[in-house]
Symmetry: C2
Subunit: 195 residues, 2 copies
DNA sequence: ACCGTTTTTCACCGAAAGGTGTAAAATGGC
DNA sequence: GCCATTTTACACCTTTCGGTGAAAAACGGT
């Protein structure tokens, strides 16, 4: 029917996510995106309309991947205390890697002006924070059910929020260049109430 | 000797800080800075060399003001448990205000590419995080000395780092649009170990 | 009144930004 | 083989970007 696509759509999306992770929305130019995706800008625009469209897609791609990788354990039906400990420890180790130094695209974006200017962006950031909180709430609920923890419903919500804040702080501090030992201490104290 | 200055230097600096708070480094143009400071770009350049110079000055101005306002109590000689509680509660209330929605210039900057590209920027961000940790460490040390708390030296450091992370998370979540009640819960749990 | 010095103002620069028009290239259907 | 359709490639547009040259304006010293 028509000319077949030559480029790898998945690789292009990954490239866009990577570019935005490194430089943010404002500082990533179309030339940067062309280099990162291997696509001509005309193709990017045919698919996503404009730069913001490319960015929104990258936000969604990142959320999907990050959720699968870092929230999957917490969102699982059988998640419990062990999964909470495991997840936060993952971030400690990650902080020492280049990937950790890039931070989280959603958390990074929350500090960009675009998250205030465009509701679609701000909403995704808020939704991601809410999802993180919900994931920890799920694990806490199970932990209580299994008898690993004693908490009221209100207490569970409070702790879920605190763990979410720790999760976010880990991403932000990691990008800020804070060393692994510092993050180790942060997580150790944050996990204390679960002991 | 020469023509006297007509503009208010302090107001101009405050304007620059405000502009960078709202739009970050990359997305703030010289035209924005002219509007925010009331100065012609030529004057900005005569004083600070280039846009980066203006930004570095704004970072320093912000740190000085933010430290005086939010770390002053913690850094005081007589700071203790009460000051820790008071400081974190301040951020909870601040989150409901427009000022809170702007976040912290240093924390916001940590996700900008410029903080990775220019060592002068990255160093200021790291130094600010370290200063926050030190402020909490000071208050914790006093609290132990007075008998309000029981902690080893290592325990104090751990808790100082955790409080620093909570402090930073409060700034970031506040900018991310998280509501006051959520932040209230975060801080409540974070302060639990001090009870 | 004049001079040296500094501030102020404004016009201007090349480069890079985001975005688009258009035609060649590559297919399946007829 | 030709057509309709879609992808690809490249040149090009306007606007805005960060940054600068140079002259006018406002003083104090003499």
């Amino acid at each position: 029917m028509a000319r077949p696509r030559e480029h790898d759509a998945q690789a292009a999306r990954d490239g866009a996510v990577q570019a935005f992770l490194q430089r943010g929305f404002a500082a990533t130019s179309l030339a940067d995106l062309e280099a990162a995706t291997g696509l001509d800008r005309r193709q990017l625009y045919n698919e996503h309309g404009d730069k913001m469209g490319v960015f929104l897609q990258a936000l969604d791609d990142f959320e999907q991947r990050a959720s699968a990788r870092f929230l999957g354990a917490l969102e699982a039906r059988e998640a419990g205390k062990a999964e909470i400990v495991e997840t936060l420890n993952t971030f400690v180790e990650l902080s020492a890697t280049e990937e950790g130094r890039l931070g989280c695209l959603l958390c990074n974006t929350s500090r960009e002006p675009v998250s205030r200017d465009d509701a679609r962006v701000g909403d995704r950031v808020s939704a991601f924070f809410a999802r993180i909180e919900k994931a920890y709430a799920n694990a806490l609920r199970n932990a209580v059910k299994v008898g690993d923890l004693e908490l009221t419903a209100a207490g569970r919500r409070r702790h879920a929020r605190h763990l979410m804040a720790t999760h976010v702080a880990a991403c932000v501090l990691s990008r800020g260049g804070v060393d692994r030992k510092t993050l180790r201490d942060v997580v150790t104290v944050a996990l204390q109430p679960l002991r």
